[in-house]
Amino acid sequence: MINENTNAMGILFPNSYDKVVPELVSERLMASIPFASRYRLVDFILSSMVNSGIDNISVLVRENYLSLLDHLGSGREWDLTRKNGGLNIVPPFAERNTKIYNGRVDAVASILNFLRRQKEKYVIMADTNIALNFDFNKLLETHIASGADVTVMYAEQEIPENLRVKEVWERGLYYTFELDGTRIKHIHINSQKEGIQNYSMNVYCMGREALIEEIHNAFVHGLTYFERDVLSPQLDKLNVQAYRYDGYFARITGMKSYFDENMKLLQDENLDGLFAGNPIYTKIRDDNPTRYIEGAAAKNVMIADGCIIEGEVENSILFRGVKVAKGAKVKNSILMQDTVVEEGAVCNYLITDKAVTISKDKEMKGTESFPIFVPKQHTV
């Protein structure tokens, strides 16, 4: 073949870590959370895969996935409308077992027959709570060169404070690694340790045949979690390698981190870290360019198309179609699609979901550590 595609297929888990941001996922899932003024979180990992030459991607949805189906459509915006491969969205009832899956083992087990029919030699699996612009060939090449059974991506990071509390099992597991060179010696689950850890990004590269075998075995034994039940007990048997990711990325681990990771993009070096590489694709809305009317003032803001700005905006992220009326003041806020801030209203440390209206002269003030959140379509 002249244009040889990467010999890997992708599997995404769009519901992972839904529970760390319950407000944002009341009518959606992690993958479709709006991020960075005009994107949804899934756009980053999906675009990165496509830009790496991966054109056979399965999305294993679990629940609340209407917004994701609407966003992804046939996958055209990501150039994934293909005869061979392309985008393959797998709802939980597509196969014979109708129960909602728990953990990756169940999820992947539901597509084992599909996996057996694919031609790619490798599989890259990822969650969608991370936004990055990455060439997955680097991971794949490292995986092949090392002769590993499984390669896992991680970053040297602290575990966010809000995760290091009790009852965290409810909200999904997180993993840190103890390394021997680059080989993983031990996987800690929900470590409470402070300081920099080898914090898993839950991006996995492994052979397709090996994945089928591991998942098949785990499924018949009634196991649930890939990391806890499959990798962790077999670390002496399987060569599980760690791949350190050094680039820019955003990881959503709670409302606060959602706020912070958006705000970080107001710094050019972070914005470039996410966007200076290959393009990130998203669903097109055909908005007109944003209009700054006489009297508008904008400082240190990222604003998508389709907005009309007549008031003041500062240190904020505005998604598509937001309206800020005359005399309104918006500071340190994230306003999602079609939010309307009426005349004289004041917003500070505010996150509005889609189509929220902040009425005339209303004052909405949160604090840096606790931004106020207004749910979808509410009028305040």
């Binding site: 007109n288 604003i303 198309d305």
Partner: protein, 401 residues
């Protein structure tokens, strides 16, 4: 499957009066209004009017236009049957011809039109900024039982002699056509948008082709021939925003009018009549700590750290700290470096304006020129470009033009 009406879009024009802007692309591909190209307007009008089959007749520098139209998906014109088709001149068994005139271009594509066996054909032009419901035009055409209708605009009487004019009776029936007359008998200017009954159009195209003395032009040949034969010809009054953007000053003016939709300009904020375009795919624009934006339109991928006043920035424009942009149309990917002063001008795509350079000047009583910088040009540091300049080659540091 027959179509009731299909559209044929004349997009072959060189746009020589746009000179520096059309060195490498055809006029319909010229960027407009922050994120559009001129051709987005007729294509969006078609799909919004329910026309799903469009032939685009291209000839001059078609590369950018072809790539832009692609499979027509941004306009929802990627169809199994119909959709948008780019129609360049092609070689035929009897020889090959460039399109000799607008009528000849249509004549050479009779077989394309016949594939859809339409009752009506609407002929559009690729150099106008206009939101128009062609289905209302067709309703008029049918109501009048017309064989040919032309969309007309009322223009001020003192400007009428610059246009092709339709003289019509109280029932809108056309009795006479005057091309740029000294003594106008009407102020109804032709917009160059026609609806024909296909059988009539085909007959007159074939006759026109057989006439060796014809210029093969709709305005100069086809319409006079229809009048000569006393065909049922009607004038359809259009009163919305319409602008021919064939010159630098009219293109600049039309862009500036976008900033004032309440008064003279076109309203791009109309959810019921969206204008579609191929997307840049860039992230939201950023206004930095030092950026100041006044009464302007800014789109994805821009980074503004300087002063932008009453201007339109296209996708991915950078305005560095200390740069001053006013009354300017700045097209995609252009970088305006610190200290540069850009006034009353059009800067095409992917231009670099060096530090401290001056381009254009605010108009005075004696000097109203719109400076123009062609695509890909590098304007050196501290260079000076006068208000009437048309720049299509790089300008060295400190040079004046």
């Amino acid at each position: 499957m027959a179509k009731e009406m299909i559209a044929m879009l004349l997009a072959g024009g060189q746009g020589s009066r746009l000179y520096a802007l059309t060195q490498r692309l055809a006029k319909p591909a010229v960027p407009f209004g922050g994120k559009y190209r001129i051709i987005d307007f007729p294509l969006s009008n078609c799909i919004n009017s329910g026309i799903d089959t469009v032939g685009v007749l291209t000839q001059y520098q078609p590369l950018v236009l072809n790539e832009y139209i692609g499979n027509g998906q941004p306009w929802d014109l990627d169809r199994l049957h119909g959709g948008v088709h780019v129609l360049p001149p092609y070689q035929q068994a009897s020889g090959s011809d460039w399109y000799k005139g607008t009528a000849n271009a249509m004549y050479q594509n009779i077989s394309f039109i016949e594939r859809y066996n339409p009752q009506y054909v609407i002929i559009l032009s690729g150099d106008q900024i206009c939101k128009q419901d062609y289905s209302d035009f067709l309703r008029f055409h049918k109501e009048k039982n017309a064989e040919f209708s032309v969309a007309v605009m009322e223009v001020p009487w003192d400007e009428a002699s610059r246009f092709g004019l339709m003289v019509a009776d109280e029932d809108d029936k056309i009795t006479e056509f005057q091309e740029k007359p000294k003594n106008p008998k009407s102020n109804l200017a032709s917009m160059g948008i026609y609806i024909f009954n296909w059988d009539i159009l085909k007959k007159y195209l074939e006759e026109d082709e057989a006439d060796p003395n014809s210029e093969n032009d709709f305005g100069n040949n086809i319409i006079p021939n229809l009048l000569r034969d006393e065909r049922r010809m009607y004038a359809y009054h259009f009163s919305g925003y319409w602008k021919d953007v064939g010159t630098i000053s009219s293109l600049w003016e039309a862009n500036m009018e976008v900033l004032d939709p309440a008064h003279s300009g076109i309203n791009l904020f109309d959810d019921d009549w969206k204008i579609y375009s191929r997307n840049s795919g860039l992230p939201g624009h950023k206004i930095g700590e030092t950026g100041v934006v006044e009464n302007s339109m800014i789109t994805d991928g821009c980074r503004v750290n300087g002063h932008v006043k009453h201007s339109i920035l296209f996708a991915g424009v950078t305005v560095e700290e200390g740069a001053d942009v006013e009354d300017a149309v700045v097209m995609g990917g252009t970088v305006i470096k610190s200290g540069a002063v850009i006034k009353h001008c059009i800067i095409a795509e992917n231009v670099v304006i060096g530090e401290g350079a001056h381009v254009g000047a605010m108009p005075t009583d004696s000097e109203k020129g719109v400076a123009t910088v062609g695509s890909g040009v590098y304007i050196g540091d501290n260079a000076k470009i006068g208000p009437n300049a048309m720049v299509r080659m790089n300008v060295k540091d400190g040079e004046e033009q």
